[in-house]
Amino acid sequence: MALRRALAVLAVASMLVLAGCAGRGQESGGESSSGPVTLKFWNGFTGPDRPAVEEIVKRFNDSQDQVTIQMEIMPWDVFFTKLLPSLTSGTGPDIAAMDTAQIPQYAAKKALKPLDDYYTKEGTEADKLIPAAVEGAAFEGVKYSVPMNFTTLLLYWNKGMFKEAGLDPEKPPANWQEFADYAKKLTKDTNGDGKPEQYGLAIADHATIPMWPILFWQGGGAVVSEDGKTAMLGDPATIEAASYWVDLVRNDKIAPIGLGGADADKLFQSKKAAMEIVGPWMTTGFKDAGIDFGLAMPPAGPKAEVTLGTSVGFTVNARADQAKTDGAYEFFKFWNSKESQVYWSVNSGFPPNRTDIQASELAENPYVAAFGEPADKSRFYLINVQEFQKVNDTLFVPALQRVLNGKASVQDAFPKADADIQAVLDGS
């Protein structure tokens, strides 16, 4: 029994691999005629925006009888564990929605169909899509996705806590100097045990939408250059920006160390942190928690006024035949139609993907316009980088955590990680 237990883990892992190998060579699309098609659509919208996704899919299915979308919603980690094996075995989805940062590694493995023709096809109104969102769809000059959503991150600040700290509740910090000052003023250790009961800032270092990289960009640095070819963690500008904020976190304790994205949200939501840079998905949660918050462009850094742009795109299975691809295009067109986008924005809090929707049409949801506005001041994280996981999770995040925990200095850890990231980018 001992050995059997010993091998159980391996066996399970191998079976999953096998599941991927079995049935290779089967085509996912059978008929190529232009009859009615059914498309399997996977995504990870398990959050508060789920009902909005379901409603638009239902509206699409009801609107015509040629294409049926069969949607399966699962948590993102399940989604990414299942996606690659299922694509190989031919049991995968015809349409998969994923963060554009994840697309290159699937595109490079030729698992996704190039969708350049969607953008030139007549009637798709692709020219009405937000340019920043379309930019995120490309990898090495080829577009592999059509925007499903796009947003920027904004600074949330708790007006009540600002007032308590003697700050003007209607005036968010405008630059780094103010940002740091406010954060210090908002950090309070009331019982004097050395651990603040209230923090100025909630900033997550792992399992999160990128927050630290925004600070690097504002200081003129980055994790990787925008063309995805050069590691920049060792760049003097990155080191300077990182040192500035790491010092504030470690010595002034403006933010707790080691937060994940959900922890940071929870901290702001429970009024234990006064500021956070995050996306529109938190507006509902914060509002329900009774927080009177304001939204603003993150404070400008010494080198740039910039925030993160992030987008989930629809991708099409490389094996989809013409009929399925056409069906998918019909769906993308419907999703990005004016009517659907107004519905989507009002109900999800995400800004619309189109440039031709007026703020007055979105009046029902007061936050939407704010998130759409800085689109041209936004930047995608690790765009054009094929190995997102390796660069972010395996190299950048641990280096940042080492520094934040005082196990290494920025000057030591960042150039080291820079060299490792460069090796990954160079494909060695």
Partner: protein
Amino acid sequence: MSTATQVPAPPTAPPPPRRPGRARGRLARRQALAAWGFMLPSLVVLAIFVVYPMTQALYLSFTEYNVIQAARWVGLANYEKLLSDPAFRNALVNTLYYAAVTTPVSVGLALGLALLLNRRLPLRGFLRTSVFLPVVLSLAIVAIAWSFLLDPNIGLLSYWLSKVGIVSEQGWLRDPNLAMPAVMLVGIWKNVGFYMVMYLAGLQSIPRELHEAASIDGAGAWRRFRRITWPLLANQTMLITILAAIATLQAFDQIFVMTRGGPFFQTETVVMMIYRVGFQEFAFGYASAISWVLVLLIFGLSMGQLAYFRKRTVTY
């Protein structure tokens, strides 16, 4: 104790017949046939779910395979990479550290609890059940509960500990020095009940006369334990230690849920690394190579433990 280490000996070799006869040979054949028939279901299951995947994984470990493109033969490259990979060294050290702490603590604690709960105590059944309960729970699920208990802001356990002056500024799971002890604690809590039950069974199989005789001869409690209980539990100790060592070398569930191997790989065990390399970085060839090294490691360790304890088994 193990079905797989003792490969079922083909029962086709009867003792040398004392008097040659056809009838006897036929009987032996029929018995052999029956034996294979009874073993067949298990053998089929083992072959399909253990032997075949393992062989596949062995093959993959000599290839570069990203699931989409066909596997490419690379010979021993994955194993060579492993030797110089600091991530693997880190995972191996973490795993051995985890095993070296949790195995003896689990076994010792199980023995202590078994001795205690073998006495006539009020609420004995309740206490036994409480200790055993974690065994039947899903580790992945109770690990979520533990994460909440240890949360620095809303955690009950963190709160109690802070009342006695133990304040973890960052929270246990986010502190690089405390994350490993935290997942060890959960690992021990999960398994100790199972080992305790095995020890209880062992304790109850020790004849009462031995203790009575020793008492009459004037042996004290410690001497009786040292000279009677402990030697006669040697079989249990062997089995439990081997099982515990194997379980700890495969530590995964609670780590996956509670820390994901972080902060900065401080709690990344070998199995966590296999998962990361295979399912997040899609390097299945390399992940298979790590898996095989782990298999050999566990196999070697189990054999070593078996040999060590075999020599020490005692009967009176």
